[in-house]
Subunit: 287 residues, 2 copies
C-alpha cells in the first residue's frame, strides 16, 4: 500500500483538494489520524484527520504570515509561547530574531512532533536543536491557565481548525486568559481561518478579539493547500501594532530570506479584507 | 449519468481541485469540451477542457478584480474591448459605469456564450440585454489586428490559461497590437495567471507588459476555484494608474455592490506580490 502513488484528498463542504503522492506513514495518535505523504507537487506533506496541515513547499505561506507581523512589530520579544505548532515552522521563524530568548512550544500531540522531526525535518530545521526552544507535551488551554500574569511577550496560536480537542482555543475565555499572561505591550497572534471556507468561525474570531483586546488587526493572504486558498491571521494587543524601527536592520535580513512575507506585503495584507466581510462586520456592529 | 452527484476535478501538476455536483451539460464545441455542473458548494459552474472557469458563487473574486481597477482609475472609458469573457461577468461589471458607451465582446467560442446565457444567467445578468454590448464571435487576435489605431479606451483580456487556441493572447506581438489600438491614456487589463501554480507564465506576462508599456502594475488576490487559489491581474498603460476622483461618487456606489473589491482592497492588492516573485523579477532584471 505504502508505495503506490495515489490521490489523497481533503474534503470540505462539497469541495475537495487532493495531492498525488505516496503515503509514507499512517498512524493514529491519541488525538487524531496522522498521515505523511510524499507528494509530487509540494514535497512531503502532513495531513491530520483528513485535513492538509503543511507541506515542505508551501509551508512558508503560513508560517511567515503568522510570525513576522508580530515579531517585526514588537519591541520586547524575549519570551514566546507557541500553542500547537508541532511541525516546528513557527518556532523556526521566531528563532530568526536575535532578541528571542525563550520559546515554550506547547503541543498536545507528541506524535505530531515525532513525525515532523522524522519526515519534515526541513520545516523545524535548526529550531529543534536550538537551546532557546523548550517543548512541552500539554494542553495549550491548561498551560495558559497555569501561567503567571504578564509572562509572555508574544503568544502564537498555531492550531488546526476547530475540532473536539481544539475548540477551546477559539473561545472568549481562552482569549481572555491569553491577554492575562501577556506582558503589557504583548501581542496575541493567531491563525484566524478562511473568510471564504470558514466564514462563520472567521467572523467569530475577529469579533471576539476585537471585543477583548484594545486593538486587533487581521491580515489576509494565501495558503495554497488550505480550503479556498484564502487564509487569515489576526493580531491582538493592548498597544499599536507598528513596525518597530529599532531592529530594522534585522528585519531586513529576515525579509531577504522569506518566500512570501516582506514589509510591503504585510502592510498590504492587513488591508485585504474582502468587501463582503467588511459589510458583514459592519452590519453586525450596527445591530 | 446526468443526475448522479459526482466529483468533478481539475487536475493541475500533481494536485486536483474537485467540486461535488451534477453534470447538467457536457458537449464538445469546435474548440473545447464544455461542462456545466450544478455544484453543492459554488452553485452552477463552468468547466472548459477540464479547467474550472467560473461559478455563480465565486465569480466575483475574478470579475471584480479584472474590471474595477481599470475602470475606476481611468477618466475616459467610452469604448471597451473584452477578449474572451463569454460568461458575461466582465461585461456586467463594465456596464455599471455610466460613462461606458460601447463594449465589443469578442469571444472565439460561440458555445461558451450560449451555455452561459442558458445555465449561468446570473453572471451575465442584465448585460446580455444591454444595448451597449455587442457580441462578436471571432478570434481576439484577428479582431485586434483589424482594429484602427487608438480606438479603445480599455481592453480586457479575459481568457483561459495558455492553450492551443489561446497561446497567442500571451505574446509580445499581441500586447504590442493591443497598445496600438488603445487610446493614448488607455489601459490594457489582463488576467495574468497564478504566481504559484503558473509561475513561469505569470513572470513572462509581467516582463512582457513591463517592456512594452510605459507602466504596468500587477495585483494579487484570490480565486477559490483556480489552481492554488492565488491569482493575479495586470494593468498596463502609457499613463499613471491613479484613481480618478472625477467620478468618485459613482465608484462608491459600485463598491457598495461588490463582494470582494473595494478601493482599499485594490490599493493593497497591488502590493501583494509574494517575496519570491519580487526576488525572481529583481534577479532577472539584473541579468
Amino acid at each position: 500500500m505504502k508505495d503506490i502513488p495515489t490521490w489523497i484528498d481533503e474534503y470540505h463542504k462539497g469541495s475537495r483538494f487532493g495531492l498525488n503522492g505516496k503515503v509514507l506513514l499512517k498512524k493514529n495518535s491519541k488525538y487524531q489520524e496522522i498521515l505523511i505523504i510524499e507528494t509530487d507537487c509540494y514535497g512531503k506533506a502532513l495531513m491530520l484527520d483528513g485535513c492538509w496541515m503543511t507541506s515542505l513547499r508551501d509551508e512558508k505561506y503560513y508560517h511567515e504570515c503568522l510570525v513576522h507581523p508580530a515579531l517585526s512589530s514588537i519591541d520586547k520579544k524575549s519570551h514566546i509561547l507557541i500553542i500547537g505548532g508541532g511541525d516546528g515552522g513557527t518556532a523556526r521563524e521566531c528563532l530568526k530574531y536575535s532578541q528571542v530568548a525563550k520559546i515554550d512550544l506547547v503541543e498536545i500531540d507528541e506524535e505530531v512532533i515525532n513525525v515532523s522531526k522524522t519526515f519534515l525535518q526541513e520545516i523545524g530545521s535548526e529550531a529543534w536543536n536550538d537551546k532557546r526552544l523548550s517543548i512541552h507535551i500539554d494542553d495549550g488551554v491548561k498551560w495558559v491557565e497555569k501561567t503567571n500574569d504578564n509572562f509572555y511577550d508574544v503568544i502564537f496560536i498555531d492550531c488546526s481548525d476547530p475540532s473536539e480537542f481544539s475548540n477551546l482555543l477559539f473561545t472568549d475565555s481562552f482569549y481572555r486568559e491569553c491577554k492575562r499572561i501577556l506582558t503589557k505591550k504583548g501581542i496575541l497572534a493567531t491563525q484566524s481561518e478562511s473568510p471564504e471556507s470558514f466564514k462563520d468561525i472567521h467572523i467569530h474570531i475577529l469579533k471576539s478579539l476585537n471585543k477583548i483586546f484594545k486593538l486587533s488587526k487581521t491580515m489576509y493572504s494565501f495558503v495554497p493547500i488550505y480550503p479556498s486558498g484564502i487564509w487569515s491571521w489576526t493580531f491582538a494587543s493592548e498597544e499599536e501594532l507598528n513596525l518597530s524601527k529599532l531592529y530594522y536592520k534585522e528585519v531586513m535580513r529576515i525579509e531577504k530570506d522569506c518566500d512570501v512575507w516582506n514589509l510591503n506585503f504585510q502592510n498590504a495584507a492587513f488591508q485585504m479584507m474582502p468587501n463582503k466581510i467588511v459589510k458583514e462586520l459592519n452590519s453586525k456592529n450596527d445591530q
